[in-house]
Symmetry: C2
Subunit: 415 residues, 2 copies
């Protein structure tokens, strides 16, 4: 067997220490797959880790790694845009392959870094950036290369899926479920990035860009989190036999492409409906292959690290070969939110239910009405397929009807 | 853009004509992904297709393809061992990459052909051989290269899954469901390969070999089909809230590895339980990534052809590079069937139910007893975890009890 290959890890947090664990746990089988042993030579972090096995490999100087000709592969698992972007750019420019789990950086600068890798005959790979250990980047880039990707619907955040599962199955409020998720270590003390959908929007940005081979801008994607979901919403959804998931979606329509992040009602029998707790799944429709789904642990130290190590092995297997990834800098114009087609469940607060139903049914032709015994002073409708803009306008009209108090929530439905 | 690349297709059946369709339907996006247009120069088949658009490309002479230096990539979609094996060997020896959907050939001679490809700096790839359009071969070979694969449980045959779905959901008998599958075009007129599990065993052979990077022999794998499944079996399974699937399974245990094909009871909530109709899914457990699942259309013209075309694009993208596939000729010894651990549902036919239960409970310590009002003269037990051998022996003892008429069926349960 060839000599060991030396790698460096930027960032010794959850994923960084996970990479060390995976390389250690599966050392022998990894050496066979990579064709050589993989040895961590440097760990870059601004912190110190006294007593840790990697203590002697720790460096606070990025240049030590950049300037070492022995280092051909670097795992960037620091997270955040800077200094990760500067470091990655310098490494790629020096012909060193970079593998990453940094969804924020990939979503923001993916196309540029892929181009830079190509120009320098090395690779920028990011399997771990979406869906943790679930293989989804490589399948989109290679297995589905003969497809036109028509749509992607992903449960891309474990924290929110855990919270929604607890709300649905155990009747908890959002606040109770969030506290539990924090106690279990599924949610951060500051859970904003998860519950407001910011984590999901980065991931759907990456998937949509790969589906189109062009650059989608995260800021263009309408993003709604799960904080407004209540037990009353869940009661209607349960009545339908459906479940509620935070979905990052991408869809190619005859009018253009759209992407969005929002809670969506998933009908029973849809493969996404059985994705519970902290699991993730990505449902992909191609114009030849039809419906497919990829399911697994979307986060967590070892699954995410495993995806990083698979990228490291790929780089070690095929040195000095740029593996083509189609993601150009050309920017994609997304359909504005108002033009996106949707069906929704709308909860109407109203004292005169009979009159309210009449109004709602005349506004939303052919809608289905739901009323639950336990929820007095309101009913819900399920609209037909309309545009977001039209539904919002009709809801404004509802507000103007004297005996209608308001609209408690509007929740989109997955087709 | 570079000049078009010319390919040949061996076999103009369902998959062969599907490849032509996929190349035609997605011509532009495929040209972008492959870096050049892909042009079918020859179609080899012993039949004639008068009036078909490929008529002018048809050849009955394999040597025309073998001897044409312009042809660097060939799709072998004839099926069967010969002449596919001879053709594939000659093509690889000539440095031409071969992509295939031929599960029989891959299961039988995969390791040899992969080695031959490596020696001649070309590729033998077979994404379409398992799970049709579901990406599973590439993920096992690349995305999970940092994993030790602990187990694989696959619904790998659409025909049998369709039949079992109809039996479970519509109360049909096996014969009724089979007839319907034949009418719908899901089952062949001679359905043996599907219903007896022969198709599934080839696929689990391929997956198990990739998981181990060694050669598993199909003939060593215990294989049981679905012909013996009755509505009475389904009644017990429904009572449990579970579903029944034909499962190809592989598992690494401390005592050794095993593989088998048999109907298995899948508990509610297991991701495989929602895989209905002709869909396939492969559930994979890795020692780092945990539980993952790959779901989609396991057969069908376009999904299977799409997987073939993805392999063609891969070969076109990276000419003259052998992409490493770890599957050595070294043979794997599987655990004998009698040593495989299992839990089972056993239907005991018996006139004196009370006495029968006592006997069964003393033989199968801690077993759970099920009795259904509509099924008189029998009851069922669910055993604890024992070995196949021990369960068979205990069932023989049951047969010797005078008031027990026999054992109607033994159905394994997925853990």
């Amino acid at each position: 067997m060839a000599e060991d290959i030396s790698i460096a890890i930027l960032g010794y947090g959850t994923v960084g220490s996970g990479i060390v664990s995976v390389l250690e746990s599966n050392r022998d089988s990894i050496a066979i797959k990579a064709g050589k042993g993989i040895n961590v030579k440097y760990v870059f972090d601004i912190r110190n880790f006294p007593g840790d096995p990697i203590e002697k490999k720790l460096t606070h100087e990025f240049e030590t790694i950049l300037d070492d000709p022995e280092i051909k592969i670097v795992a960037e698992v620091m997270g955040g845009i800077e200094p990760a972007y500067t470091f990655t750019s310098k490494l790629l420019a020096a012909g060193k392959s970079v593998i990453t789990s940094n969804k924020e950086l990939v979503a923001c600068h993916g196309a540029k870094l892929i181009k830079l890798a190509k120009e320098n005959n090395c690779n920028y790979t990011f399997e771990a950036s979406v869906g943790g250990g679930i293989p989804i980047i490589r399948p989109l880039n290679t297995s589905f290369s003969a497809e036109k990707i028509e749509s992607i619907s992903g449960i891309l955040n474990g924290t929110t899926n855990y919270i929604l599962t607890k709300m649905a199955d155990e009747g908890k409020t959002f606040e109770e479920a969030l506290s539990e998720a924090q106690e279990m270590g599924y949610a951060e003390r500051n859970p904003e990035a998860d519950i407001k959908g910011f984590d999901t929007v980065r991931k759907i940005t990456i998937l949509a860009s790969l589906a189109l081979s062009k650059s989608v801008n995260s800021d263009d994607i309408y993003t709604e989190g799960i904080e407004a979901i209540t037990p009353a919403d869940m009661a209607y959804i349960k009545t339908l036999g459906s479940s509620l998931k935070l979905i990052g979606s991408y869809k190619a329509t005859p009018k253009g492409v759209y992407a969005m992040v929002s809670p969506k009602i998933i009908p029973a029998g849809h493969p996404l409906s059985m994705v519970k707790d902290a699991y993730n799944a990505v449902f992909v429709q191609g114009n030849m292959v039809g419906n497919t789904m990829f399911y697994g642990s979307g986060a967590g130290k070892l699954p995410t690290a495993s995806a990083c190590v698979a990228d490291i092995i790929d780089a070690a297997r095929h040195p000095d070969i740029n593996v083509r990834i189609d993601w150009d800098e050309e920017k994609v114009e997304l359909l504005p939110i108002k033009d996106i087609p949707m069906r929704a469940l709308i909860r109407v607060e109203c004292d005169d239910i009979a009159e309210g139903r009449k109004v709602a049914q005349s506004l939303f032709q052919g809608c289905r009405v739901l009323a639950l015994c336990e929820l007095t002073g309101e009913f819900a409708i399920i609209t037909g397929l309309e545009t977001e803009g039209l539904i919002q306008e009709k809801c404004k009209i509802l507000y103007e009807i004297p005996f209608i108090r308001g609209v408690a929530n509007i929740i989109r439905m997955e087709e």
